[in-house]
């Protein structure tokens, strides 16, 4: 077994997932990432898996490969997520299903398979990604916010179930960040959202990484089942 931390991050092809992969590599970790399509970048100490988090077999094979090469998983960040801004009355069922599949079922599968490896060493840090759209009840984001509400509840129950294995489970809930996820949202809607925050600016990747760094520290072994909202909501 190698003596460096192994960090698994989903949805690393671009955006915050890529940023977090680079962040943890800089900190000296071995990072294992995944996405449905291949990334157009590469990095030392980073391994990419072509895996869809909604495929049970793909997720199992990814962790099988990680276990065989490293024998451990220390940190899991469930970043893979999709969004679709739309009025509920105009939301196709297929869209609703896909959002729940990726954001919630994908998170469940990665947590389940990753925690199986973590429990063997009685240590693990799981960080799931929420959103301020949950407490803000944002119109147009019913399905996205609901899927993230499910992630929050799942994480809080998971925290109880995995505590005895030394695994903590927490959620960081970002404000909108300049990523593909909000590219289709009208500017004035983003402005109104930012206006409702205590700190009136869009989020930055570094804001998310900062909270994740806190959750995953070995010293944070008494912090679990928590949700930290960025921006002061």
């Amino acid at each position: 077994m190698i003596d460096r931390e192994v960090v698994v991050i989903t949805g690393t092809r671009k955006g915050i997932g890529r940023f977090l992969a680079e962040h943890f590599v800089r900190k000296g970790a071995l990072v294992e990432g995944c996405s449905r399509e291949a990334p157009d970048w590469a990095l030392d100490n980073y391994t990419h898996h072509l895996a869809d988090v909604t495929s049970e077999q793909a997720v199992k094979e990814m962790f099988f490969s990680i276990n065989r090469r490293h024998g451990r998983v220390d940190i899991i960040i469930n970043n893979a997520g999709i969004s679709s801004m739309n009025h509920v009355l105009l939301t196709p069922y297929e869209t609703a299903r896909k959002i729940l599949d990726t954001n919630f079922h994908g998170t469940f599968l990665v947590c389940r398979e990753g925690a199986k490896l973590m429990q063997a060493r009685r240590y693990g840090r799981i960080v799931n990604i929420g959103t301020v759209a949950v407490p803000m009840r944002l119109a147009g984001e019913a399905l996205y916010a609901s899927s993230k509400s499910a992630v929050v509840t799942f994480t809080q129950v998971l925290a109880y179930e995995l505590a005895e294995f030394g695994i903590t489970c927490n959620v960081v809930a970002p404000t909108p960040i300049e990523t593909d996820l909000i590219r289709g949202v009208p500017g004035e809607k983003i402005d109104r959202l930012v206006e409702a925050l205590a700190i009136k600016r869009l989020g930055r990747f570094e804001d998310v990484a900062n909270v994740i760094d806190f959750f995953v520290k070995p010293e944070s072994d008494y912090v679990t089942g928590q949700v930290i909202y960025l921006g002061g909501i």
Binding site: A51, E56, K60, E61, S65, N67, R68, K116, Q119
Partner: protein
Amino acid sequence: MVGEKETGVVDEEQLVSLVTSAVKDACGDRDIAVPEDLGPETKLFGAGGCLDSLSLVSLLVDIEQRLEQEFGAIVTIADDRAMSRRRSPFRTVRTLTDYIHVLLESRNDHDRS
């Protein structure tokens, strides 16, 4: 980029040996007395079983990992079929090994198709 997959064939005797070894470890981890005559008829879970629900969880996870490491077989033991059966496949070492055998067979059938 990785995406490799291994396959392996596991016989009944190997499965019983793998499961009984994992039961010993599961009992040891949770300070549960290992059944004296540990073998195919040993009751694992339910009436007269030696394991509580959390040690059963640990046992099933451990067995999945042993199947992966020793035979390259990637399976989910607590799958929908197992959880919806009227009689749980986790009652005894034998019912569990039989169920794992079914999983491995259906996996091989899937690989061949």
